[in-house]
Amino acid sequence: MLAYILRRLLVALGVMLTVAVVSFMLLHLSGDLATAIAGPESSAADIEKVRVQYGLDRPVAAQFADWLGAALRLDFGRSFYFQNTVMELVGERLPVTLKLGAVSLLLAVAVAIPLGVLAALHRDGWIDRLSLAVAVVGQAMPNFWFALTLVLVFGVGLKWLPVAGNTGWQHFVLPALALGYYAMPSLMRLTRAGMLDVLGCDYIRTARAKGLRPARIVFKHALRNAIIPVMALAAVELGFMLGGSVVIESVFSLQGLGQLAWDSISRNDYPVVQAVVLIIAVFYIGLTFVADVVNAALDPRMRTR
């Protein structure tokens, strides 16, 4: 098990390094950095001065080493657009996106697990079909469109919730619904499949034969075994949601990391863009690492993969 964890950790670190290379390239493909830092009205001499001052005249490999060294200390340089450092901007926005991701995941799990359990208990019954339909529809709707529909129905039609801003908890309900619905179907299907697997096992039959109450069998014996892979998948889904929140944030004008990235892309503020890409990737890698370890701890067969 320890060997497995170490191996996965090594892979995770390697992937982080590769992602760092990719996001570094993103910055360098974006055009001449010296011109961008010096500003549009500067003379050729000024641009050359900036080039030397920022070390942009050196080989790319040396620049990458410096950038990576700084990035490891969470120093991503300064924004081209604002006077702030990239980390100040990111630090301001990250909590909003993390909050959105966490609430979305909670909502998704709170719906997916009961629905998955019920669907497995009443296999082929109406609730199984209904939950399948909910999942299939959820996977078919573009999430920006679902978000706009929520705004129309709950914000404008019923006037229950605010449609933009990020001051109170009410501002997170609709965005979290929109983002969570995206993650719910796979969690629900895994819960259902896990429950069906477990319910067919001998020890459940034994428990039934012993005359244990059905509720006790479902919750104490079956769900406990079926739920851990679901939790592992939930960690991965959280990683996906952090990356996908850019769309939802733009619909609801939530000032999160995604919105920052999108604004920065349209302002050609690439130091910010690459930092956001890297940070989201690191979160994803960390979360999948946790999920892998959890799954391996449960199922020794996974460790050989």
């Binding site: 996977q139 573009p142 920006f144 995604g258 349209s266 989201i280 990737a281």
Partner: protein
């Protein structure tokens, strides 16, 4: 009971897909108006079933007075083209990687798994947005970007399918006969992956269509005046409070198309593995 379900899903999905394909192919003949023709006197006319609607514009007009039905029909072309082309590019990349990893194993496998893991760690929407902004959004750019980003599932599925087939007798026989490796991979192995590939292709096609609409919605995908369903939602966003149909119509069509593709894909998968669980 359960056995009839995949067939029903396949039938419904296939019917939706067929209808959209037909609409896309026949768009120039089916469209009542030129999808690009603007008419400021005819702005935002609601669909025919509203009081203020007219039969002249069955689904109304957009903010520039362009006929919504005609734009919708031509938008089907964009969606299907992007879905097919992106799935083709990503299928080529993913299948190549997956087959090589599955067949050779060892270091090749480790390398491919590493590349797949790295790809999965990159946030697709953000990277696509950043790249599209660098290169400039257009239909071609969207196709290439999505093709380069969505190959992971192809690689994962073909890798494990190849691993299962690698030791099969017909492969061993071909090896014993001294068939060259490329022959074994292309002529012996690949035909047996067709079923799995079709299923992944449908999923990725749906994925690409959704992502195109997202990129276009955010303004970095297909550029106006090209009719794309995602772009139609974006253009209608400012008017949705008073004219909800401007975003409802393209959104519903988009969801229906993706639903159709997914149903067809699920049906195909269940046909391939009748005893498999979903």
């Amino acid at each position: 009971m359960r056995a009839t379900l995949p067939h029903r899903g396949l039938a419904i999905g296939g019917a939706i897909l067929g209808l959209v394909a037909l609409a896309a192919l026949l768009a120039p003949w089916l469209s009542p108006h030129d999808p690009y023709a603007q008419d400021v006197t005819q702005r935002l006319i609601p669909p025919a079933w509203y009081d203020k609607g007219s039969w002249e514009h069955l689904l109304g007009t957009d903010k520039l007075g362009r006929d919504y039905l005609s734009r919708l029909l031509h938008g089907a072309r964009v969606s299907l083209l992007i879905g097919l082309a992106a799935a083709l590019i990503s299928g080529l990349i993913g299948t190549t990687l997956g087959v090589l990893a599955g067949y050779f194993g060892g270091r090749v496998d480790a390398l491919v798994s590493y590349v797949v893991t790295t790809r999965l760690a990159l946030p697709v929407v953000l990277v696509a947005l950043a790249m599209a902004s660098l290169v400039g959004g257009s239909l071609k750019v969207v196709i290439v970007l999505l093709g380069l980003l969505l190959w992971d599932r192809f690689a994962i599925v073909t890798r494990s399918a190849t691993q299962q087939l690698r030791d099969a007798e017909f492969i061993a026989a071909a090896q014993a006969l001294g068939a060259p490796t490329h022959w074994i991979l292309l002529r012996e192995l690949l035909p047996n992956l067709a079923g799995a590939l079709t299923v992944v292709a449908t999923l990725e096609m749906a994925h690409a269509i959704l992502l195109e609409s997202t990129l276009s919605f955010l303004g970095l995908g297909v550029q106006p005046p090209t009719p794309s369903w995602g772009l139609m939602v974006a253009e209608g966003k400012a008017y949705m409070f008073f004219q909800p149909w401007v975003i409802v119509i393209p959104g519903v069509v988009l969801a229906l198309l993706v639903l159709g593709i997914n149903l067809a894909g699920d049906g195909l998968r269940d046909l391939g593995a009748p005893d498999g669980r979903n």
